[in-house]
Symmetry: C2
Subunit: 512 residues, 2 copies
């Protein structure tokens, strides 16, 4: 039996069949909620948000009703021991594990609360869009306050050992705790600060002047499409749209996985890096075994694992010199005037300019994790009850000054920049976890392919995609993050890989 | 109490409140199904259709479950006599009427059948798209066969007095029967044939040469947007997209009503006439009273009544000389080269060129209803069991020869041209009914505004929209079609108005 074969369900077991039917309906409703969300972010008229809030609440209420169906609880209780037996598959075990997780979480929340949270979420998103537009934190603050209250209540209902915030972390990264984050992030903070200091003290700069030009959006669209096709994103099972905050979503992986990007004529890296980032999420979801369709396994193993793929494709591959040696000729022919006489190395280096800045999604790899650590610290304090919503703008600005030496001139460029808090807390650490996992997986990839750079230079990335699909993507959410990581890289999460990756990469670029 | 005031529900009655809650959830799910359908027609990747079929089946299954909830039946039984009392509103009565209709229909169908029909519908749509693309009726035929079988079963379960097809007609136009259609359509057929004959015998032609030019799509987009804005379509509660077959849909009227159109550089009337047609549907839905949101009354009174508005805006207004006297200057400035030295009358007349043709949606007003009558005759025979699916292409071609004197060279330009049969039968007569109702409403409008043409010539159509909103749109689906019509025009449906409209309009244009 191949590894893929293991991703089949033992449907001869009637209880597994019944469970699959149940999760299929839940998956369908979840896909419709995702579609409504996609629509809200990519085209929904403003006047629709009132009725959309009702629709989303109805969907979430129905999902809750189905997930908490007592029959599901019975099936899980009956199956939990059965699937441990050797003749059952990893898919069976993953199914029971994920369905149990959802069941336990959902049964702790009353349906009214779920529906009300969803109404608040939709309106809060709306309020965030307007607040950011008008640099008006005060108008968003009451929504944030309600969200914080809901999230605290969730944490209390879910339970936790050390601190309230742990309950939320667990939603995105099973079994993760804030104290574990502290341990994992300490070396990241240290290496970020030290590399940044060395770069700043060296007085060296990379030349970014070639990026300060105008790049017509139509051409950018072609370039992005080709880059995504090149990395193996399948448009027959996907689509690109435009949204203020790029994201990837699925209405049934692996068959319908879509992403958004954003364009600015004056900022070519914006669209390219967003596309490679979201493309990483998307090829992960498109790569899960078709047998997982309409199950909770048609998903990433965790958000940290998901971000490992977006960050790997965006940074480790997408900001590497070797990658652009392979891709730059096509970019050059799309923008012949802008890139006349420019070489791939100059372009790749320009994408790696290190400079403390205000906006997380535009940050370089050296400072990126400092943006995350700031959010992590604020989230934790907020949920644990140590700080008040009103203090966020000043706290945010103080931390930016401390960690990055910059102070946002407006809240739109500060505390209002990210969409995440409009819907909840606990996600941000996933990005840095993703960087850690990603560096580890990247190291494994390089050791499997000693000619890694040479292949990238020939314009080939499919070999990497194929390897990742076979050793990782195919499993979807069948394994817990730690188990999946062990399968891929052979060991536990270890920030040392990222520390070495960052140090080596930027020592070379800045010739430190 | 104003007429609008009457569109409020008596929520002090607890049973009405409970019923509103129930229909609210059903409306939300219906909106999500409509969104999924919109997505399928405007952007969904091809590879997603398998999973989308499951999702749609799940949604339709849940809608069926909610509509058939026995508690709903109890509420209706309790309310039916209560709402007849004078202190209850027309909205209350409409609510009970529409909810009863849905309940009675749904309880006659088993849920499995509803889900299976939905799966077939989604795949059948797919099959139709491919069959039309490849001119391959045989590949669509098995899907059509299944749809016919489902529709016959529905008719048998719903019941009918005279013929099976009546049960399907009733779905779109309550209480309509095929024999009544025969009565209403006879004068239409006659006037269409006679006006066509007089035009053909006169040997006169309108000059359409100005339309045989190239009109860049970007400019067409601007023009369409402005025309829709001008007629009063509110983009804050709407959106335009592109699809192969233009349509209008709602994800919660009056707050989210969207339409699609289509563009062809060589065919300016295509996009303009589609936009005005769909715009008519859309302003109708956007005009319903806000109090009807998330109820079955946030809809048109019937599909015939709906088409009365699309056809009124597209034809009676949108193909009139007076309208283009008001709008042509803007069109001219969008296409200065194409329309240099052209006057509004020449353009308006070109839009009214009469010529028997193959494609319904591009047909002139004189021949349009013959396209419908052909479909009506075929549908009736098919559902009543008089003909077989296999015979459709030859029957279609024979009828086109008989009624219009043209024979489709391919099935793509013949029996495969319309999307409707991929999902069911009984809709087509709505278009001609719409033309009849529309002519009657148009006549009333003109009598209310003696300066009707003068206003159009000044570029104003808002006065017509305002009148229609106040006297018609605001009521949504609260009244049965016949009652609504009586409210608006003061009498029953009467094809005489259309006969006179058509005769006068084309006698003038062709100087007969």
């Amino acid at each position: 039996m191949t590894e893929h074969g293991n991703m089949h369900f033992t449907t001869s077991n009637e209880q597994i069949s019944e469970l699959l039917k149940q999760v299929g309906v839940i998956a369908d409703l979840g896909s419709m909620a995702a579609l409504a969300d996609w629509d809200q972010q990519t085209g929904m008229p403003e006047g629709a948000s009132e009725v959309r809030a009702h629709q989303m609440a109805t969907l979430q209420g129905l999902i809750h009703e189905r997930v908490t169906d007592p029959r599901g609880g019975e099936l899980l209780a009956a199956l939990e021991d059965v699937v441990k037996q050797q003749e059952y598959t990893d898919a069976d075990r993953g199914l029971v594990y994920q369905a149990r997780r959802s069941y336990d979480q959902a049964t702790k929340l009353p349906r009214d609360m779920v529906e009300e949270m969803e109404r608040v979420r939709v309106k809060s998103f709306d309020a965030w869009v307007k607040a950011r537009q008008h640099n008006d934190f005060a108008s968003f603050s009451p929504w944030l306050q309600r969200t914080v209250e809901f999230q605290r209540e969730i944490a209390d209902r879910f339970g936790y050992k050390e601190c309230r915030y742990d309950a939320l972390l667990d939603l995105y990264e099973p079994e993760l705790t804030a104290s574990r984050v502290d341990v994992l992030f300490a070396p990241v903070r240290e290496v970020s600060a030290s590399v940044l200091k060395r770069i700043q003290e060296s007085g060296k700069k990379v030349d970014t002047s070639i990026l300060s030009q105008s790049f017509p959006i139509e051409k950018q669209q072609e370039v992005n499409k080709r880059l995504l096709e090149g990395m193996g994103y399948d448009f027959n099972r996907g689509q690109i749209a435009v949204s203020a905050h790029p994201f990837t979503t699925s209405f049934g992986s692996p068959l319908d996985v879509r992403l958004t990007t954003r364009y600015d004529e004056k900022n070519l890296p914006w669209s390219i890096m967003s596309s490679l980032h979201e493309g990483g999420h998307a090829v992960y979801e498109q790569g899960c075994a078709p047998s997982l369709l309409r199950t909770p396994l048609a998903n990433g193993a965790s958000m940290g694992v998901h971000e490992s793929q977006s960050r790997l494709w965006e940074n480790a591959i997408g900001r590497s010199e070797a990658f652009w040696r392979g891709q730059f000729p096509a970019l050059q022919s799309a923008f012949p005037e802008q890139f006349q006489g420019v070489d791939a190395t100059t372009f790749a280096y320009a994408l790696n300019n290190v400079e403390p800045s205000l906006i997380r999604t535009e940050a370089d790899e050296v400072t990126y994790n400092l943006h995350i650590i700031i959010r992590f610290e604020i989230e934790r304090a907020l949920i644990n009850g140590d700080i008040a919503v009103e203090s966020l703008p000043s706290l945010w600005n103080a931390k930016y000054k401390e960690y990055l030496g910059v102070v946002p001139p407006t809240d739109s460029l500060g505390v209002l920049q990210d969409v995440h808090w409009a819907s909840g807390f606990g996600y941000f650490p996933s990005y840095t976890l993703g960087n850690l996992y990603g560096a580890q997986i990247y190291s494994t990839l390089r050791s499997k392919f000693p000619d890694f750079d040479a292949r990238l230079e020939q314009g080939d990335t499919r070999f990497a995609l194929t390897w990742l699909q076979e050793h990782m993507y195919v499993y979807g959410a069948a394994f817990k993050p730690a188990n999946l990581l062990k399968r891929i890289v052979g060991e536990e999460a270890d920030p040392g890989y990222f520390v070495r990756y960052l140090t080596e990469k930027f020592s070379k670029i800045y010739d430190l």
